[in-house]
């Protein structure tokens, strides 16, 4: 077994292990795991509708994952993706509702507004970190709450006291008849293309640009980066801004695609927090984030089918998802096991 094969096997085995332990949990609580997993599978792949919804679910996860991963690569822990996503959602919805523009301008404008709002929300912790050395984790947690309350208030303001914005104009929508027909009226929208484009953007920034070189350098060793003439503070701020922009676009997925409006939020969407798991499942690489988001999104969406098709409470699915995350995170022990097996085979 080459290292390459092992690298590939580790996540696969983690998922299998997670499913196995999940099966044991189901058995112990008196459910049939085979039925459960068939229901899960069908929930994701049964028909074009399910696939459409699954992909729709994956889109914001990709963007939230990118946001977390990008900051991580620069040595920053952005727990504020949630808040950045919320303000992005609002900004996109606002632009989508307020302006009359042809689609070709309206959609990019709304996306841009979302990215800008998210970026602004990332800018604050970035600046505070750079200027005063304030830990970004705590500021981003606070910014999440500020986003929640401010946006709720703003929704009321712009909707004239209503609890949600008007629906966005057709010209700003990422939905399309084509996709709807293709997937039997699922809520699939073109946001997935935006998300994938951002994957490329992140890859490009990190792997191809001078800025990416600096960002990574600062993330690994800020002292050496400073010695090499880089502006460490600028890079910290920039990283948070770009991270926030990704998150903001995640919000745009909801505004322009999934919902087509924004309603007062009674609490956090959870997407931002799940983004942490997505990013880390994907080892903070752009491609990995697609993997992480697909896994996470599929499990989350497919899970909805389990109570109905197999009578298994949805909480069990959450348990299984959490277990899979555990095992993927603990890839080291699986790697060790594989290498041992490998050695034994080699010795024979």
């Amino acid at each position: 077994m080459s290292n390459r094969v092992i690298n590939l096997l580790v996540p696969i085995i983690s998922i299998i292990l997670g499913l196995l332990v999940g099966a044991v949990v189901m058995l112990f609580s008196g459910y049939n795991p085979i039925n459960g997993y068939i229901a899960l599978w069908n929930g994701v792949f049964e028909d074009s509708y399910a696939i459409g919804e699954t992909i729709r679910q994956i889109s914001p996860y990709i963007l939230a994952g990118l946001a977390v991963a990008f900051a991580f690569r620069t040595g920053l822990f952005n727990i504020g993706v949630e808040g950045q996503l919320i303000v992005g959602w609002f900004a996109a919805a606002y632009v989508g509702v307020t302006f009359e523009l042809p689609a070709i301008i309206h959609i990019p404008f709304a996306l841009l507004a979302a990215a800008a709002a998210g970026a602004l929300w990332g800018l604050v912790p970035g600046l505070l970190k750079a200027k005063f050395g304030v830990h970004e984790v705590i500021v981003t947690i606070m910014m999440n709450y500020i986003a929640l309350h401010s946006v709720n208030a703003l929704i009321k303001t712009v909707s004239g006291g209503n609890y949600k914005t008007d629906p966005i104009k057709e010209t700003a929508s990422l939905r399309s008849e084509f996709l709807a027909n293709l997937t039997d009226f699922s809520t699939l929208h073109y946001g997935i293309l935006v998300a994938l484009a951002m994957v490329v953007v992140m890859w490009f920034i990190l792997e191809k640009t001078k800025t990416g070189f600096e960002l990574k350098s600062v993330g690994f060793n800020d002292h050496a980066s400073q010695y090499a003439g880089m502006n460490v503070n600028k890079n910290i701020v920039l990283s948070m801004v770009i991270s926030g922009a990704f998150a903001g676009l995640g919000g745009a997925m909801e505004a322009l695609g999934t919902f087509g409006y924004m309603a007062t939020l009674a609490g956090f969407t959870g997407i931002g927090f799940d983004g942490i798991a997505v990013a880390l499942l994907g080892a903070n690489t752009p491609l990995g984030v697609i993997f992480g988001a697909s896994l996470f999104g599929s499990l989350k969406y497919g899970a909805g089918n389990m109570p109905n098709a197999a009578g298994i409470p949805i909480e069990i699915v959450s348990i299984v998802i959490a277990l899979i995350i555990f095992f993927v995170a603990s890839g080291y022990i699986i790697r060790v096991g594989l290498q041992r097996m490998n050695k034994k085979k080699g010795a024979k």
């Binding site: 609580s29 050395g133 705590i138 309350h149 409470p313 348990i319 277990l323 022990i333």
Partner: protein, 319 residues
Amino acid sequence: MTFLEVLYFIVPMMIAYAAPLIFTAIGGVFSERSGVVNIGLEGLMVMGAFSGILFNLSFASTFGAWTPWVSILVAMIVSGLFSILHAVASISFRADQVVSGVAINMLGIAIALFLVKMIFGKGQTEFIERSIPVLNIPILKDIPFLGPLLFKGIYGSSILAIGVAILAWFIIYKTPFGLRLRAVGEHPMAADTMGINVTKIRYIAVIISGGLAGIGGAVYAQTMAGDFGHATINGQGFMALAAMIFGKWHPIGAMGAALFFGFAQALAISSSGIDFMKNVPAVYLHILPYVLTILALAGFIGRANAPKANGQPYIKGNR
């Protein structure tokens, strides 16, 4: 309200709000001081709130007035045990500690809700009848000004929280265990060469954090919520995390930060009784606690350094 009335209201409220955060944040201090990042505090609090409420409901007739206290103990044990998962993953399996923490958060709420459904056949538990009592501390409560401010209508658990903060300070800074804990979180290899079992210390620290977060959850559930459901613990674990960092990974600092959060919340809630804040639009009041925290951080708290080895699995012989 007069200024004094405002104070008499804000201070007890601040302490009551802070108590669950104090426990949990100090749990975080233990874990992170040993070098294990614990963003799973939220999930550990959930387990504590759940087990505390469940025990309280089940054994109220057995333990009578002692029920909430025994429940806290049970919550501590349950969350302590639950945190072993995080310990195994992040210490023995060298998992990414943040991912493991995220998994703990997901797992905590999933298990708790699953069990609630199995046991109660619905989404949340019944209401407890034996909640944590408020005390009027004899003699002290009669001290002018301070008496009504600090010693009247205070939860026993709040006193316990302050006690735990002081005890934690003592343990971390005055005992051999604390010295080892700090060394392990700062430079595990150095500790290893001194014959300290890094793994053992980290396990203990994580389990302590689990236990304290469990207490935090149980205290919240038994003072504020009165039952357990999906939204009982929602974000307190993250606020505790923030308090831990705000307090610079120091138990007394964490307590101060939690009290600060409590103060900001109390101020926001009581604002309609304070003349000059009466006409402030509601949204500003709702974001006030969070904005105040950021201002405080930027203004005079500033840079805080995490334990050096925080977040890194210890691998023998790695440089």
